[in-house]
Structures are given as structure tokens and as C-alpha cells.
Subunit: 175 residues, 2 copies
DNA sequence: ACCTGAACACCGTTCAAGT
DNA sequence: ACCTGAACACCGTTCAAGT
């Protein structure tokens, strides 16, 4: 992948994490990377293509990240609580697929399909790490909802309040 | 409130529930209600005003709805699981404040404040219905996340998978 | 291979003008 | 009191033109 393609995707991802599909324009991205908006179209023909590419890359890197974290800590609950926490607390950013997923009904089909793939990857991976399907669904829902609420309330402590008991109950079982 | 104001808010709400703040235009709303876009500006000077009004009305009606449901069933978990389920399954719609909340960092301050008020109202009410603050935070996060995931996956069964065990654990305690 | 300027129909917003 | 058309700078997209 060319440097320019990567730079465009980086700029688009940052803006999608803040404002979703309607939250970025080709002219803004162009200024971010130092070209004209028609040049952005050369690398990504449409806005759909660019957003879909960002989602696909996010899904891949997230998948690798979760695998690596699970190798160091075999408790999937702790792994997922911590990894998603790092996204919003350390990076001060939302998961782009979550921002897009909340408005999925208004997304171009190509982008909606990539967002769907992200959540399918997450559920499948949690199950492969040992949790029953229902527990995986409940865990991921709690974490995604905690992200959205922390974002809406502008207070990352909300994420911890929502997820602390997940870890405590887990420890109680292990003890 | 005039009929026209209400009609404009109804049209805006439907579109916000699908696509968020970037998912509706004054020209579309104008066509929905049968006037010109400049007439919509007469009732709501800016897009911010319109979106904020929709959020404020949603918070008020939701608050009343949760009160009424709690009078008929004194189990807050069951009340909240069921009420939010009705929104996405029966109405096939998202909670507008959730769609907007996911992109809160890109929202006009006036709208962001109303979205924040919605979630504060929810947490406060669940606590007033008897749940500890942390449990209220975890419950609401799970439901909001289940809504987002159902929307992203295009499958309302996801909401049930994520929330069924909440009800089962509740029954186990009661029994 | 990569970039650009000009053009198109769209957007939010304003405002003078109508009834 | 309520509505409108025209104008402004913005948007995604296209395309002929440049290097």
C-alpha cells in the first residue's frame, strides 16, 4: 500500500472515530494530507470505498491485537475489558465501527458490510477464547455500550463503573 | 406547540434514528412535511436547534414511559430490557440519543448537552428504582450496546442473546 | 502513475420579499 | 405569523487536462 493511501486512511479514520460517515469530507482529508480533494478520489474513488477500507483495516488490526492480548492473559473477560478501555481512555478515541454501527441503517451497503464483519469477528473470537455464545454477546454488548455512554457523557469513568463488576464476578468464580 | 413544529420534529426524529446528525437535511425534512427548506428554518433557526429539540422531547417521553412501565412491574431489569427491546424490535428504530451519542465528539454543544441529559436521566431513574449505581451503569451499558450491535448486525435476535441472561440471573435470585 | 481546476447537483444558512 | 426564491460557501463526484 502506498504512503499516500495509508495517510488518507489515517486521516479518514481519525475523523470517522469522532463523527462517523457524515463527519468527514474529502476536502478536509485532502487538506490533512496536503493534496486536492480530486486527488483523494484518485486513491479512493468514492467515500464508500474510503470508509470501507478504514473499517477493513481496523477489523484486521483489532483481530491481531486481541489475539496477542489473549496470549498474555487467558481470561477473555479481562482481555476484552482492558483492550477496549485502552481505545477510549489511552487513545481518547472511539472504535470507528461502533460509531458507524450506531447509524448502520444509513450506511452505504459496502460500508455496512464491513462494520458487520467487525462485530462478527469479535463475537467469533470471544467464543473461540472459551466463552459461551450468549456470554460473549452479553460481554461485548456491555463493552460497546459502555464506550458509547462514556462518549456521550464525556466521562471515561463511566466505562469503569459499567465494567468493574464484570471483573469482580470473574475473580469471585476463579477464587 | 404548533402542528408544523411537531411535524418537523417527527420527520427529523425518524431520520436521526436512522442516520444521526449527518443523516438528515433541511431540504429532505421540508419535502417530508410539504414546505420549502427556508420555512423549516423559520421554526427551527439552525440544525442544532432542531436536533436538540428532538432529543429533549425524546428524553421527556422516555422518562414518562419508564415511570409507567415501572408502576406495572417493580423489577427494573425487566422493565428496562423490555422497554428498549420494544424500541428496536416493535418500532424497528434506534434510540436517537444513542445514534447521536456514538458521534458525540462531533456534535454541536447544544445537541451534545441534550444527549448527555438523556443518559443522565436514564442512570438516575434506574438508581431511583432500586439498583446500585454500578449495577445501573452496567445494565444500561449492556442494553445500549445490544441496541448498537443488533443495528450493526441487522439482526434483532442479537439483542435477546445479549440480554436473556440478565433476566435469568434475576429470576434465579428471586426464586 | 499521480495530481489538478472546473463543473454539477447537493448542503446549511441568510435575507429581502411576499401573504 | 408564516412562507418563499435567490444567494453564499460548502459537499461528493466527474472529467478533461496536465506532469
Amino acid at each position: 500500500m502506498s504512503d499516500m493511501k495509508t495517510a488518507i486512511m489515517d486521516a479518514a479514520q481519525k475523523r470517522i472515530q469522532i463523527g462517523g460517515f457524515g463527519g468527514f469530507s474529502f476536502r478536509e482529508i485532502a487538506e490533512d494530507v496536503g493534496v486536492k480533494s480530486s486527488s483523494v478520489h484518485y486513491h479512493f474513488p468514492t467515500k464508500d470505498d474510503l470508509a470501507a477500507a478504514v473499517c477493513r483495516r481496523w477489523t484486521e488490526t483489532a483481530s491481531d491485537h486481541f489475539d496477542a492480548a489473549f496470549e498474555k492473559d487467558s481470561d477473555p473477560v479481562r482481555v476484552w475489558v482492558k483492550t477496549l478501555r485502552d481505545t477510549i481512555v489511552a487513545d481518547t478515541r472511539m472504535c470507528p465501527c461502533t460509531v458507524l454501527g450506531a447509524a448502520a441503517q444509513d450506511l452505504p451497503p459496502q460500508v455496512a458490510a464491513e462494520v458487520k464483519r467487525f462485530f462478527e469477528m469479535c463475537l467469533k473470537k470471544i467464543v473461540s477464547q472459551g466463552l459461551p455464545a450468549k456470554a460473549a454477546n452479553e460481554l461485548l454488548s456491555t463493552l460497546i455500550g459502555a464506550m458509547v455512554m462514556s462518549n456521550a457523557l464525556g466521562d471515561t469513568a463511566t466505562y469503569d463503573r459499567a465494567t468493574n463488576d464484570l471483573l469482580r464476578r470473574r475473580k469471585a468464580v476463579a477464587a
